[in-house]
């Protein structure tokens, strides 16, 4: 059952939320041992919450648009009283005293949180292998990765553990695992969804977004979590666009650009390019006008991203120092305590990025690295703006290929970084993008294509995504 169907059935009293939740918990109990999508399950709280939803329905009160719908939460979203680890030893055992804004909004909409899902430590990675608590496996093939960093949430939806999940996307961390797991995953416009309670990786790029099996479910979830939040200064004050408004409109007359730089990016599997071209053909067949378009500065996206994101991360992760919460490794003095805590608490990839970012911000290097990267960011935004003068939406591959084997890319960080080459430009521009499953590779593993839209263009973005979904 999709989220739309579950909510409809629960609201009408046709299904009980408790039954729905029990069914999903059973599936998790049966299969998550082999997938490891969840780091922490909140089964009792979920059943209690589901019972409340059922009571509300019985009392004639509408529990909201996500009534009784199970949702999985990436474990970098703060949940009051529930362990929140970012898949890091340094936060092991920490229980936030507050809920992230998105978590509160889900609860207010009648959704039922099932637990916290695995991720690359502090959302740094593309395979979920950087989790301090062990990797997540791809439900389509347990020898392969689910992608990352929101691999646990993507796998949870793909395995049927929850019809909906939340992830966060800093350079592709929702869209890439969505593609590798064969589900829908969207990164909204920067500022559309409140970041309050999302544990920061790179603040100017991080954005929370939905995972779902269907485009309509993803749009429903986004509409619930979107909208201004006074607790996040970067949250947009304007009324949010409706993700669902265009789902039934089709694409007749829409202008869609196929981005040259994304289809010719380094290291792309030709099968991915082939699926993207088929998607373009499908849109054309549905009445859209499709043309090639160039976004020249996009080719510098990866380089700029690997300066900006680590720089912000080096500052965001400074607070994990052993003084107030989380891991503390004692030392003879404060400096030794800092060093030992951070040495023991952080994994290799997190340390690598902290060092990169610290270096990029250092006196004498700032202009050459961080400053230059910000200029590239401006250029990318300008190039996208130019493209959107001529197109309503853009199209490209999501990931360079299908799910790869566990361990295949762990020895070479640069190869791993290339996974985000097609997704990063949208983060740098602050624009929305959604990955839609589109065909499979020769091994039968799912592939995804990406629909990109201008800032606050969620309506048209989901409109195109729905058409692609229907054309499969």
């Amino acid at each position: 059952m999709t989220a739309v169907e579950i909510a409809g059935a629960v609201r009408s009293g046709e299904h009980s939320a408790v039954e729905v939740v029990e069914e999903h918990l059973e599936r998790i109990a049966r299969r998550d041992g082999g997938v490891h999508a969840f780091l922490h399950l909140t089964a009792d709280a979920a059943l209690e919450r589901a019972a409340q939803v059922d009571e509300a329905v019985a009392a004639g009160i509408d529990p909201g648009p996500l009534a009784g719908v199970p949702v999985a939460l990436k474990d970098n979203l703060c949940t009051r009283g529930v362990p929140t680890t970012c898949a890091s030893r340094i936060l092991e055992g920490w229980r936030p005293p507050y809920d992230a804004t998105v978590v509160s909004r889900l609860a207010a909409a009648g959704a039922v949180a099932l637990g916290k899902t695995n991720l690359d430590e502090f959302a740094m990675g593309s395979s979920t292998e950087n989790s301090a608590f062990g990797p997540t496996r791809n439900p389509h093939d347990p020898t392969r990765v689910p992608g990352g960093s929101s691999g646990g949430s993507a796998a949870a939806v793909a395995a049927g553990f929850a019809p909906l999940a939340l992830g966060s996307d800093t350079g592709g961390s929702i869209r890439q695992p969505a593609a590798l797991c064969g589900v829908v995953g969207a990164k909204p416009t920067y500022g559309l969804v409140s970041r309050y309670g999302l544990i920061a990786f790179a603040s100017s790029l991080d954005q929370i977004g939905p995972f779902a099996e269907t485009v309509a479910d993803a749009a429903l979830l986004l509409d619930v979590i979107a909208g201004h939040d006074p607790a996040d200064s970067t949250s947009l004050p304007s009324a949010p666009p409706s993700a669902r408004a265009g789902l039934d409109r089709g694409v007749e007359g829409l202008r869609v650009g196929l981005v040259t730089e994304l289809t010719t990016a380094e290291g792309l599997d030709p099968q991915v390019v082939a699926r993207t071209r088929e998607a373009a053909d499908a849109l054309e067949a549905a009445g859209a006008k499709v043309d090639e378009v160039s976004v020249p500065a996009a080719v510098y996206g990866l380089s700029a991203y690997y300066l900006i994101a680590p720089a912000e991360a080096s500052s965001n992760l400074a607070r994990y120092d052993g003084v107030r919460y989380g891991l503390r490794a004692p030392g003879a003095d404060i400096t030794e305590m800092y060093v030992r805590t951070r040495t023991e608490g952080f994994g290799a990839e997190v340390k690598r990025r902290i060092m990169l970012g610290t270096y990029a911000l250092s006196a004498g290097y700032y202009d050459a690295y961080y400053g230059k990267a910000q200029k590239v960011r401006t250029r990318i935004l300008e190039d996208f703006d130019a493209a959107y003068q001529r197109f309503d939406a853009l199209l490209g591959p999501t990931a360079p290929g299908g799910a790869f084997a566990l361990g295949a890319k762990t020895t070479d960080p640069l190869t791993m970084y290339l996974n985000d080459v097609c997704t990063i430009p949208s983060n740098l521009a602050g624009h929305p993008a959604v990955s839609v499953p589109y065909g499979v590779d020769a091994g039968g593993l799912p592939l995804g294509v990406q629909v990109l839209a201008p800032a606050l263009g969620e309506t048209v973005m989901f409109q195109v995504a729905a058409t692609l979904e229907a054309s499969r």
């Binding site: 970098n76 979203l77 703060c78 929140t84 970012c86 936060l91 920490w94 936030p96 005293p97 507050y98 992230a100 970041r195 309050y196 309670g197 999302l198 544990i199 920061a200 790179a202 603040s203 100017s204 006074p230 607790a231 996040d232 200064s233 970067t234 720089a311 912000e312 080096s314 500052s315 400074a318 607070r319 120092d321 003084v323 107030r324 919460y325 003095d333 404060i334 400096t335 800092y338 610290t358 911000l361 250092s362 006196a363 700032y366 961080y370």
Partner: protein, 475 residues
């Protein structure tokens, strides 16, 4: 120290008197139980985000306007360094785009001191080191109170325009008065709501290049600021005259031992890795709003001094005028002027008798004050009597006529005064002859005898005038 010129620039941090902290809604309050005014934001908990306090911006704009600064669009930066009382291990501050830039402050003597910038930033918590030498590295353990973490500060940076410890003290005194007048700060240096760091260097008189400067920290009163600067100047001159060189460094003022010592050298200075704070948006004050703040600001001390000086016929930098304005007594001068009474007399009484009993000011109403001035001017009270009455008014309240009557005060004037003088002159005929012959200093003798003969009731100023008139008339 002859042959050397001192060059000083000051960095003054002031806490703002907001109800809540700079980026969260916790109370901004001094003296509460440790760690009671805290929340996820000011504790820097994972996932928390800052939201700027509009009132703090309002105060920063007031300070900028009062210091004749440009109030400009500004952004926040992160200043990164590890310290346990800083919950995020970075401080949200302003860097190359501060809210206030390029202004000046006028010292009472008329000198203008340049203001380079004033910017908003958050305060840190407070650490207490237990055991060892009370310093972080040899303590047994440390306790951190985060009540102060996130309290709004404005840092005001002067240009290196100050030339002596006295000028530096006068600058801080004047700045404190301005901050209090704007309502932005309570100006309490001893409680730490006003903190001063001094950049001190010396150079040969006549040189235009700056010497190597040292930053001196940890002065907690105007007195210790003056002592620290004097010590540091002497140290630097001694060093240079002995053939050495001043090393750029941060130095710690030890109040008990009366000296500065090295905290960290330039090489050990932190690389703060400033970068724009991505969790906040630019602050762009609406010019109309800034104009509204400008229009609503009360008069600043320099302007008040000019007004008081003009009314009293004194110089704005005179001690009496400076004292009256520093103590906020100018409303009494205004009332005096409005009533057409003697404003010069008012300033003298305010700067002396009232200033010395300033704690009892609440007992003194402007109307009664003006009535007293009138009684003195009209000769109904002598100066000595007026002072006594004013003291009583301050300590116990009440109206001057009643107090004077209770003391049995009435000034001896008119015919009675003439008669009393006749007697004194007759009793000292020799002296009178010499006085008439030109021995001016003998006037004091007659006044003294008169005061004795009338038990202090004589209007001595009137008596002196009569004496001079009689001598001129040759009788």
């Amino acid at each position: 120290m002859s042959g050397w010129e001192t060059v000083i620039g000051l960095e003054v941090h002031t806490e703002l008197r907001t109800e809540t902290k700079l980026f969260c809604s916790c109370a901004n309050r001094f003296g509460d139980e440790p760690n009671t005014n805290v929340c996820p934001v000011c504790l820097g908990l994972p996932g928390s985000l800052p939201v700027l306090n509009a009132r703090a911006v309002d105060y920063a704009v007031r300070i900028g306007v009062a210091l004749h600064c440009q109030v400009q669009p500004s952004i926040f930066h992160r200043k990164n360094y590890f310290y346990p009382d800083m919950p995020k291990d970075y401080q949200i501050s302003q860097y190359d785009l501060p809210i206030d830039t390029d202004g000046w402050l006028e010292l009472p003597g008329g000198k203008r001191v340049g203001i380079e910038r004033a910017h908003l930033e958050e305060d840190t918590g407070k650490t207490t080191h237990v055991g060892g030498g009370g310093r972080i590295h040899d303590a047994d353990h440390s306790l951190v109170d985060y009540n102060r973490a996130g309290v709004p500060l404005v840092e005001i940076v002067s240009r290196p325009d100050l030339r002596s410890a006295d000028e530096a003290r006068a600058y801080v005194d004047e700045l404190r008065a301005i901050l209090v007048a704007t309502g932005a700060s309570d100006g309490k240096m001893e409680e730490g709501s006003l903190r001063v760091d001094a950049n001190v260097s010396v150079r040969p008189v006549g040189s235009t290049a700056f010497g190597t400067r040292c930053e001196v920290k940890n002065m907690n009163s105007l007195r210790s600021l003056g002592r620290a600067i004097d010590y540091e100047v002497a140290r630097q001159v001694r060093l240079v005259e002995g053939g050495g060189e001043v090393v750029q460094e941060t130095r710690h003022w030890n109040e008990a031992e009366g000296h500065t010592s090295s905290m960290r050298s330039k090489e050990e200075a932190f690389d703060y890795r400033y970068f724009p704070e991505p969790d906040l948006v630019p602050v762009v004050p609406d010019p109309a709003w800034v104009d509204g703040i400008r229009a609503a600001l009360p008069a600043m001390p320099a302007e008040l001094r000019r007004g008081v000086a003009h009314a009293a016929g004194m110089a704005p930098e005179s001690d009496a005028v400076v004292t009256v304005v520093r103590l906020g007594l100018e409303p009494f001068v205004t009332a005096t002027v409005a009533a057409g009474a003697d404003a010069g007399l008012a300033v003298r009484r305010l700067a002396n008798e009232v200033a010395s009993e300033i704690g009892s000011l609440a007992n003194l109403g402007p109307e009664q004050f003006v009535t007293l001035l009138r009684m003195e001017s009209a000769g109904d009270l002598t100066t000595a009597q007026a002072r006594t009455v004013l003291k009583d008014m301050l300590t116990g309240g009440g109206d001057p006529a009643g107090i004077a009557a209770a003391h049995g005060f009435e000034a001896l004037g008119g015919d009675a005064l003439e008669a009393a003088l006749d007697e004194v002159v007759a009793d000292n005929a020799d002296a009178w002859a010499r006085y008439v012959a030109g021995e001016d200093k003998l006037q004091g003798l007659f006044i003294g005898r008169l005061r004795g003969a009338t038990a202090g009731k004589a209007d001595l100023a009137a008596a002196a005038a009569i004496l001079r008139a009689r001598r001129a008339a040759g009788c």
